[in-house]
């Protein structure tokens, strides 16, 4: 087991390094003078010259990378010239809304998708199964923002049950916080539910076809016990895996959802930064999101230890 843990932890490092290199290269691949690009459209020549020395843009590329990487490790993600503050501060301000949205979405998605997927697999071919598969394809196909507008139209504008846009901080109370986030979270969770339900169903179906299920039945166990004790425990690994991988979808969706619902989070920040060509911020946000994604998948892989005794021993 230790070997597995160690190996898995170690393998995260090259991935993060590649991400860093790719993000670093992004700026260098833009046409034009990187310093001018970084400074933004409203900069003057002094500022540009200062950036040039700061980042050592007159030195060789590997040296530049070392400087940039060094800064990053100490928590210095650069200065946003558009927002006129350090990128880290900027991110710090926008972190809470995005985390809140993501958290509620994951809770809703896993809570709905896993039981549905299990039931669909258990009653394979039945009405629930076919309905779920149908909704799943729909969930993949209707884009998040279209769905958002449809839901806003129904629940906010016509029925008036939920607010149209905006965000309330947690410090203002749990109720308002939840109330504002409900519709965005539901919107975002749809595609996540589609994915998880599908994989859950496939995984449970696979497991139900294994030999040890036949043995369990041959022992005279009732179907519920067969499902719970034998099928689910073995189906867990692919399900947990897809929850981790699906976070990538979640991040993509966050960008759009925050845009539609006017939530001042990291997603909105990304879009605004791109429109303003604010490179330090773009780089900072991408690094952060990728780091989170890698960490979440690492946690998922490490959790295998609990689900699969073959790894433990």
């Amino acid at each position: 087991m230790l070997k597995f843990l160690f190996r898995r932890l170690l393998s995260t490092i090259p991935v993060l390094l590649v991400v860093a290199v790719l993000v670093f290269l992004m700026l260098r691949l833009t046409p034009g003078d990187p310093a001018a690009v970084l400074a933004g459209d409203a900069a003057n020549t002094e500022q540009i010259a200062q950036i040039r020395t700061n980042l050592g843009l007159d030195r060789s590329i590997p040296e530049q990378f070392a400087i940039w990487f060094g800064h990053m490790l100490t928590g210095d993600l650069g200065q946003s010239y558009y927002y006129k503050m350090p990128v880290t501060t900027l991110i710090g301000q926008r972190l809470e809304p995005t985390l809140s949205l993501a958290l509620i979405t994951i809770v809703i998605a896993v809570g709905v998708a896993v039981p549905l997927g299990v039931l669909a697999a258990w009653r394979f071919g039945g009405a629930l199964d076919r309905t779920l598969m149908g909704f799943s394809v729909l969930g993949f196909s209707v884009p998040v923002f279209v769905l958002a507008y449809v839901l806003i139209w129904i629940f906010s504008l016509k029925l008036g049950w939920l607010p149209v846009q905006g965000y309330k901080r947690l410090s203002e109370g749990l109720g308002p916080w939840l109330y504002q986030l409900l519709l965005p979270a539901i919107t975002l969770s749809v595609i996540y539910i589609a994915l998880i339900a599908r994989v859950t169903r496939a995984s449970v179906l696979d497991t139900l076809g294994e030999d040890y299920i036949r043995t369990a039945r041959a022992k005279g166990l009732p179907e519920v016990k067969v499902l719970m004790r034998h099928a689910l425990a073995n189906a867990a690994v692919p399900i947990v895996t897809v929850i981790g991988i699906g976070v990538a979808l979640l991040i993509g969706g966050v960008v759009v959802t925050e845009s539609v619902y006017a939530i001042p989070g990291l997603g909105r920040l990304t879009v605004d930064a791109v429109l303003a060509r604010d490179f330090p911020t773009i780089q900072g946000v991408i690094l952060l999101f990728s780091f989170f994604y890698v960490m979440i998948n690492l946690l998922v892989d490490l959790s295998y230890v609990f689900f699969d005794p073959r790894i433990r021993y």
């Binding site: 070997k3 160690f6 190996r7 294994e210 030999d211 040890y212 036949r214 043995t215 369990a216 039945r217 041959a218 022992k219 005279g220 166990l221 009732p222 016990k225 004790r229 034998h230 425990a233 073995n234 689900f307 699969d308 005794p309 073959r310 021993y313």
Partner: protein
């Protein structure tokens, strides 16, 4: 005289197959009984329906395979269409089943102890402590050492034989009157098989259990059975006592089957010890090193210090259990694996450590036939394309290659219309013959057969073995025959090498090795072969 009522009575059982299959029923009008303390072997080849019957008795068949006729009676109770609740009550308490693959038949995430305990928890009202005691008792009864450790282990931590014992423990803990065993030893090594079969016999005698034993191996039948039932494509063609069926078979199919079983008795073959050596190996070794973290390397000697000679017109057999290294040696000879050390002399060329670039012209001289006929041919290419590929690689023009292909197909007794057909249109035995023909297209000096008949039904196997014999003598080929089946080895081999844990433990002319084995492993191996003292009906062959 009061004979106790039969435990299992199957009467005119018919089970249907889903539409669109090659036939309408899996089994039709099958009748047999299993009495108290009786072992009935159900034998048949692929498609015979024997597994379907086994699962049908337990009520484990899916909806797509309904019982459409006949009855199944367990101790007089008609369970053919019994409700699931009743079937569940009977399972493990009155009738139990064990399956073929112990690795996949046990839940990988539950301890063995828990899996046995589950049976007790479901069907009895014993307290947890009492259950624990019973679990420990049954584990001791199946002769597993250190019961506490066994109970806490997960299936992947045990060997194949140990896992099968756990399965037996699970099945017998509530002392059912009927045990159904579906090919329980087919996936085990021969020596492990012997131990498990002995255990089953022992337990069966002690508890008086009736056993329905499914198998395709006549050696096992000879070892175990009281009575035998023979199935062919869903029909019960013959049933009777062991001696009647195996030594005086009545039905033509049974006669043919018995006739196809190779015997273990060896007559000295007239092998010419002076024939020129085609290939010789000296000190052949293949080592795998797993570089762990922190420098702790694990070394596995898949093959070490292997010496042998193969002469023209003769077959060298390599026998051994799994992990013995026999397949490794075969693949080294064909250079699908690169040996770590040693010499393989093919004529004057030493091909053991030769770089791949220089190997190409020499590959022609050694060809191989693999074990799985269903994966040995590219499904997207016709038989003709598969066959001309080899010669055309070396410059033979297409027409010439095709003409040769036709010739060779005739040699392997196949129609040359096969050239334009795809592999999926042929059966396993036919595909294997195509593979043999493909290998012969290269005019090799040495033909390697890596478990080439292990995946075939007994009757088909006999045919293919006969083909190998014919080819060998007609073309004066040298052959290297890898197998785990001693009967097969005794039929085709002139010389024999016995391998264990990567080393050759015994080597010599076949009749000598079989007749007077020197090494204790060889002796244990031969001793473990089921039914080796049984004399199968010679009359079967005579009537053919």
């Amino acid at each position: 005289m009061n004979t106790p009522a039969p435990i299992l009575q199957v009467q005119d059982l018919t089970i249907a197959l889903p539409k669109g299959g090659d036939r309408a029923t899996a089994v039709q009008k099958v009748s047999f009984t299993v009495g108290h303390a009786e072992i009935v072997c159900l034998v048949g080849e692929s498609g015979s329906g024997k597994s379907v019957i086994a699962q049908g008795v337990m009520g484990l068949l899916p909806k797509q395979l309904p019982v459409t006729g006949g009855r199944i009676l367990l101790q007089g109770e008609d369970i053919t269409h019994a409700p699931l609740t009743r079937l569940r009550e009977l399972r493990a308490t009155r009738m139990s089943m064990i399956f073929q693959e112990p690795m996949t038949a046990l839940n990988p995430v539950m301890t063995c102890g828990d899996q046995i305990d589950e049976v007790l928890a479901e069907h009895t009202k014993l307290s947890p402590a009492e259950r624990r005691g019973k679990v420990r008792a049954i584990i001791e009864e199946v002769l597993l050492p250190d019961p506490e450790r066994m109970m806490a282990s997960y299936p992947h931590q045990l060997s194949g034989g140990q896992r099968q014992r756990i399965m037996i423990a699970m099945a017998l803990v509530l002392e059912p009157v009927l045990l159904i065993a579906d090919e329980p030893t087919t996936a085990l090594d021969v020596t492990t098989q012997k131990q498990v079969l002995e255990l089953m016999l022992q337990l069966q005698r002690k508890h008086g259990t009736g056993v329905l034993f499914i198998t395709h191996d006549f050696g096992v039948v000879a070892e175990l059975a009281h009575r035998v039932a023979v199935l062919r494509l869903g029909d019960l063609v013959e049933v009777g006592s062991k001696h009647d069926v195996l030594q005086r078979p009545q039905h033509a199919y049974t006669k043919m089957l018995i006739g196809s079983v190779p015997t273990l008795h060896l007559h000295a073959k007239g092998s010419d010890a002076q024939a020129p050596v085609v290939l010789s190996a000296r000190g052949l070794a293949k080592t795998y090193i797993d570089k762990g973290w922190f420098g702790k390397a694990r070394t596995v000697h898949a093959a070490a210090d292997v010496d042998f000679d193969i002469r023209r017109g003769q077959t060298l057999g390599i026998v051994g259990e799994s992990g013995s290294g026999k397949s490794t040696v075969a693949r080294c000879v064909v250079r699908l694996i690169d040996p770590t050390a040693g010499h393989i002399k093919l004529g004057s060329d030493d091909i053991a450590l030769m770089p791949h670039s220089r190997l190409r012209p020499l590959r022609k001289r050694v060809q191989i036939v693999f074990q799985d006929p269903y994966r040995s041919l590219n499904p997207r290419r016709t038989v003709g394309q598969a066959m001309v590929e080899g010669p055309m690689n070396y410059g033979m023009p297409r027409e010439k290659a095709e003409a040769k292909a036709r010739e060779l197909l005739k040699l392997v007794r196949m129609d040359d219309s096969a050239l334009d057909r795809y592999p999926h249109q042929f059966s396993g035995g036919q595909r294997q013959r195509i593979c043999i023909a493909r290998a012969l297209m290269m005019d090799p000096e040495l033909l390697v057969a890596d478990e080439a008949v292990s995946a075939l039904d007994v009757s088909v196997q006999a045919q293919v073995l006969e083909l190998f014999e014919e080819i060998k003598s007609r073309l004066n080929l040298a052959m290297l025959f890898i197998t785990h089946d001693l009967r097969v080895a005794s039929q085709v081999c002139d010389f024999l090498a016995v391998m264990s844990k990567g080393r050759v433990v015994e080597y010599g002319p076949a009749h000598q090795v079989f007749g007077a084995p020197q090494h204790e492993y060889t002796r244990a191996l031969f001793d473990a072969a089921p039914g080796r003292d049984f004399d199968f009906g010679q009359a079967g062959a005579a009537a053919a």
